[in-house]
């Protein structure tokens, strides 16, 4: 009774409600709903032909995997161990669900009814140029969707390098392994999978 201003302030606050303008300020989060645009989405669909910042595609070899309409052979730069590791990681994330860890086309999704992809160890794919793989990842192939939005060009080249490594592993002989590593291999039962 003796503190009306304070009580009043509290009461009026109750009427106004707990407003947290700072918690939700005028900044929009990706895909947040907003009445501003007709589709009520804060994110705008990309305009056709838009080039991501810092990715001006001047290098045909690197960005398209083809030169003058011909699929390239070889890699835009020498393959490093670091790149192979990256390729293994990305392969296991994106490709192994269908193609399987070893690339024979027995991924978990295939086991659930997805049409089986061809094995990477077919002669056709062993002979295919690197540009072919780049093309398939970028544009899709058959029932396979494009992975262009999920896998960056550099990652695509890393995955291709790893596919080549997988293919090589299938046909490799013990002589191909450096002498220092042979004992280590025997120890692990000669298994040379993805891990």
């Amino acid at each position: 009774m003796k503190t009306p201003p304070l009580l009043l302030t509290i009461a009026v606050c109750g009427l106004v409600g707990c407003r947290y303008e700072m918690r939700t300020d005028s900044r929009l989060k990706p895909y947040q709903e907003t009445p501003f645009f007709a589709d009520r989405n804060s994110s705008r669909p990309l305009v056709d032909g838009v080039v991501p910042r810092g990715e001006a595609r001047t290098d045909d070899f690197f960005y398209t995997g083809e030169i003058n309409g011909h699929l390239v052979r070889g890699f835009p730069a020498p393959v490093t161990l670091e790149q192979l590791r990256k390729g293994r990681e990305r392969f296991n994330i994106y490709c192994s669900v269908c193609h399987g860890i070893t690339g024979v086309g027995d991924g978990t999704i295939v086991q659930r009814g997805f049409p089986a992809p061809p094995s990477f160890h077919e002669q056709r794919l062993r002979d295919a140029p690197e540009g072919h793989f780049f093309h398939v990842i970028t544009y899709g192939y058959g029932v396979m969707y494009s992975y262009a939005s999920r896998v960056e060009p550099a990652e695509r080249w890393a995955i291709i390098a790893y596919i080549r490594a997988l293919q090589l592993a299938r046909s490799a002989r013990i002589d191909d392994v450096p002498p220092g590593e042979r004992a280590h291999l025997a120890e692990n039962g000669g298994e040379n999978g993805g891990q």
Partner: protein, 468 residues
């Protein structure tokens, strides 16, 4: 002929000396325990009020409605409705805050410090002054909360366990302010209510209807006036006064730290704490007089609030007014002596800058006009004293305005200089807070004894003893 004239003169002198020797009574002779109880308690119990009460309360009530409207708009839209900007971010809200909290100081000063100094004349005016303190502090506390921008989150200012695991920044003068003002308000409530308990018990025992009996009965907490009660009461009351005395000095000092710990030219000064406290007492006494003079007339309380009270309060205002004037002079001296160009400019800017009329009006109403208090005529007559007090209240508000706005609107970097022009909402909030204050005062006068009855009884008992 000559001899007889001389004798006459001598006799007159002696008579005057005798009159001066015997202290003027604080309660007019003829008042008894019962008569003062009836006189003061009757105001509440009879429930009949003079026309002045109704008119004043009506005006105050309308202003409160205006305040509610201004606050509602403020909460809905935000502090942008005020004239504040960058650099004048504080504007009217902080001006009003400092002014109101200063007014609050007189209550505690009268109740506590004068009690400790055994100034018995305080007994007739302390209750109203304490109530005034409460309402002024409530009005004051409202402004920083509104100024927060998001008043509903005001509790973030307090330390409490929270999901952020965060504590207030205890090294900031603004957080000190939160503690000082809330402590001041709480202790003022304690002090006021403690003083009220024996009087509420009187009302309980004299109430004629069941409803009043129950309400006053609960408020009196079963006070019986037992010797035990009085012994503990006097001890605790004196201790409360002892605690309130440094508190009242600390509160306005802390308020002044809000300014003086900042580097704004015109603020960064060590004179601020004492000068703020003196200014607070100055305006507080003026406000007590502004309220007391009409009330004692309306309710016929001249016999308990005598001319001696008016005189004493006038003297206190004169002294504190001189301290404040000294503060103004010292401000200018420090600016000159510091050799700091920005500091010197702030003083010059006050006198001849865009807000110069405010400054000169301040000098007129806060320094020049109050000098009239040197004349006993002004101090002892209600009407001139009322206007002197009014002038001081206006002056102290202008002083806060000059400190807050005129210091902020021009600081170190000329590119950021801007003017502050109050909007209609600023004015409505200021006058609305005045309305709130007076509405609360009038309600208090209506529902609770405005003069401490048992302390007036003590005065009567003492005067009886003195006479015997």
């Amino acid at each position: 002929m000559i001899i007889s004239e001389q004798t006459q003169a001598k006799e007159e002198t002696r008579a005057r000396a005798e009159r001066d020797e015997r202290p003027e009574p604080l309660v007019r002779p003829g008042e008894t325990f019962r008569s003062v109880t009836d006189k003061i308690g009757g105001i509440v119990l009879a429930g009949r009020h003079p026309l002045g009460w109704w008119i004043s309360f009506g005006i105050a009530f309308l202003l409160v409605m205006g305040l509610f409207y201004a606050i509602a708009v403020l909460l809905a839209i935000g502090v942008g409705i005020w004239g504040i900007n960058i650099p004048v971010a504080w504007g009217f809200a902080i001006t009003n805050f400092v002014w109101w909290i200063g007014i609050g100081h007189a209550g505690t000063l009268i109740s506590a410090i004068l009690l400790l100094l055994f100034q018995k004349w305080r007994n007739s005016i302390n209750r109203l002054a304490e109530a005034m303190t409460l309402f002024a502090v409530a009005c004051a506390a409202m402004f920083p909360l509104l100024h927060l921008g998001r008043p509903w989150a005001f509790f973030w200012l307090l330390p409490y366990p929270n999901g952020m695991e965060l504590w207030p920044q205890f090294r900031s003068a603004l957080v000190w302010d939160v503690f000082a003002v809330s402590t001041y308000f709480t202790v003022s409530v304690f002090f006021w209510y403690t003083g009220l308990v024996p009087d509420v018990a009187t009302l309980r025992d004299r109430a004629k209807n069941r409803f009043s009996q129950v309400i006053f009965g609960i408020m009196a907490l079963g006070w019986r006036g037992s010797a035990n009660h009085w012994r503990n009461y006097e001890s605790a009351y004196l201790l409360l006064a002892g605690l309130s005395t440094p508190l009242v000095l600390s509160v306005h000092s802390v308020v002044s730290f809000d300014f003086s710990t900042a580097i704004v030219p015109g603020w960064h000064s060590t004179i601020f704490p004492p000068y703020f406290v003196a200014g607070a007492v100055y305006s507080g006494f003026a406000m007590v007089l502004n309220i007391m003079i009409p009330l004692r007339k309306w309710y016929g309380l001249e016999s308990v609030v005598t001319e001696k009270h008016l005189d004493n309060m006038g003297k206190v205002m004169l002294v504190t007014g001189l301290i404040v004037a000294y503060g103004y002079i010292f401000d200018m001296f420090t600016a000159w002596y510091s050799g700091d160009a920005a500091e010197q400019y702030s003083v010059v800017n006050r006198a001849i800058g865009p807000y110069a009329p405010v400054f000169w009006l301040l000098m007129l109403v806060n320094v020049v006009l109050p000098q009239s208090l040197w004349w006993p005529y002004v101090r002892k007559n209600p009407v001139p004293l009322f206007f002197a007090a009014l002038s001081i209240n206006l002056g102290m508000w202008l002083e806060r305005f000059v400190i807050v706005v005129v210091s902020l609107h021009r600081d170190f970097v000329p590119s950021s200089w801007r003017m502050f022009i109050p909007t209609g909402w600023d004015w409505l909030t200021l006058f609305g807070s005045l309305g709130l204050f007076f509405a609360l005062i009038f309600l208090f006068v209506r529902f609770l004894p405005m003069v401490s009855i048992f302390e007036v009884r003590e005065l009567i008992a003492e005067e009886k003893e003195g006479a015997a």
